[in-house]
């Protein structure tokens, strides 16, 4: 299971990439594997204000629907519009073209995990 070293992680299986003007959020390879083929992604509108750990949207797969959370507080500044027509980018390239949302804000002070911590967390969850 790939866990890129340059990202931060959340216990709810989102990854966080710190950018110049905010953070980009997606779900991890582990999460997409658990979910199965994603058939629909419901994203928030640009401009929506969110709190840390608040629901940002939903991912619908052939077998389940699950919410994804915002690991940081801030405002939605960009959404991945390609997902409207190509929701399975979330499966094929979860850390790249399958990104979900960009939010103004910073993970500082939030309960994020380092790659090593996330890896240990996964092992713990599956043991």
């Amino acid at each position: 299971m790939s866990i890129p070293a340059d990202l931060l992680y959340a216990r709810s299986h989102e990854w966080i990439r710190v950018d110049d003007d905010g953070v980009v959020i997606g779900i991890t390879e582990y999460a997409q594997d658990q979910l199965g083929e994603v058939v629909y992604v419901e994203l928030p509108e640009v401009g929506t204000a969110v709190d840390a750990n608040e629901e940002l949207g939903t991912l619908e797969s052939v077998k389940a629907v699950s919410e994804f959370l915002s690991p940081v507080a801030g405002e939605v500044i960009e959404i991945n519009e390609r997902l409207e027509d190509e929701p399975n980018l979330v499966n094929g390239d979860p850390y790249g073209d399958g990104w979900l949302v960009k939010i103004s804000g910073s993970p500082e002070g939030e309960a994020t995990l380092s790659p090593e911590e996330y890896s240990a967390f996964l092992e713990e969850e599956n043991s």
Binding site: Y40, E42, T58, E60, A64, V65, E67
Partner: protein, 451 residues
Amino acid sequence: MHPWVGAGDEDRRHILEELGLESIDQLFASIPASVCVDRLELPAARDEESVRMSLSRMSTANLSMGCVPSFLGAGVYRHVQPSVVDAVMSRAEFFTSYTPYQAEISQGTLQVIFEFQTLMTRLTELEVANASLYDGATALVEAVLFSHRVLRGKRDTAVVAETIHPMYRRVLDTYAASAGIEVVTVPPGADGRLDPDRVRNAASEPCCVAVQSPNFLGIVEDLPGLAEAAQSSGALAVQVVTEAASFGLLAGGGRFGFDVVCGEAQSFGVAPGFGGPHLGFFACSEKHIRQMPGRLAGETVDDDGNRAFCLTLSTREQHIRRAKATSNICTNQGLMALAATVWLESIGGSGLRRLATSCLSRTEELKRRIAELGAPWELAYPESPTFNEFLLVGPGNGPDLVHRLAEEGILAGVPSTLWGGSWPDGVVTAVTECNSSHDLDAFVDALKRVS
């Protein structure tokens, strides 16, 4: 104790012993004595046959739709009923099966639902229709909640025509109050129709504008103008239909840009009953399909490549999404949808058109004869276009007129202000293809006698 056989004295003693009680009265001691009845004053027990006889005798006092000329409508309509509808419906495979959605064993039911959906999309002129809802009133409620969801819950006002069936509006009020949606009602103009400008100015940012056409007074609304008025404020346009037979002549709102066309399809093969059953339908455009309430059957292929049907997009529903389900509707009105499907398929497209034309021409004939009759009877909206229903006013209020005409052996219609309303107090009179020319003569003769 056998699960199908009631408890005997011995069983009761056991149960009371287990509960540590002396008597059955003790078990129900929490019921206040003030609401308990010691003894009911009932006649002595009689045998089944004599009870049946006396009830039949009693029922001859009823004026039944099947025995006297009936012009009852206002949301429930009588239409021809080909025998094939009941014959197919009463097959045990359809009639007794409960929630038969497992694709491996339920291809018949799923195919019927798929055909019902297809028929409703063609009539409403929208892209998708669901597997049906309970009735027209809850279909309206679902349409308002749907609009609220599509606009992401940011607009909490629904603009609703007063000329939507008053009972539908009452059901909507019940739901809207708990959903935090404010309902703003727009009355009709002097011609009984809704003025698009009044709709446009009714609220600043409504989630939807809901109109009924033909409306409660039987009048056909200006659908293109109303769709434009709704959408100019960013709201969804919702058409409610209570008389589905009107689709035989009137284009569904989808053609004029309506986002939702929903309502009641009882007219399609469901006999008018005392309180139901009814058949709700709901159609919308494909882009909003994930916000659509209810079940949806889809077409697919099985392992061998044969055409097959299955429930689809179930992830919107409660059994998958639990509390986050799109709607609390997690079922459909399966048997009535079957009736409607068989009815429509046996009558066919040209048959539906002929049926609707017959309704229209008989209604126009009755309207003309009433206009000729003159005072004290008149049409409340003589210039407005109607389909098979109109508002008749005469020498008295609605309930009084209905009562006096019933004494003349005519079921003249439904009092127009029975549930309130800003329109004239009279009788909403419906004419269908089931009304013979003899019925029309009898109606006009009765009007002459009641004046």
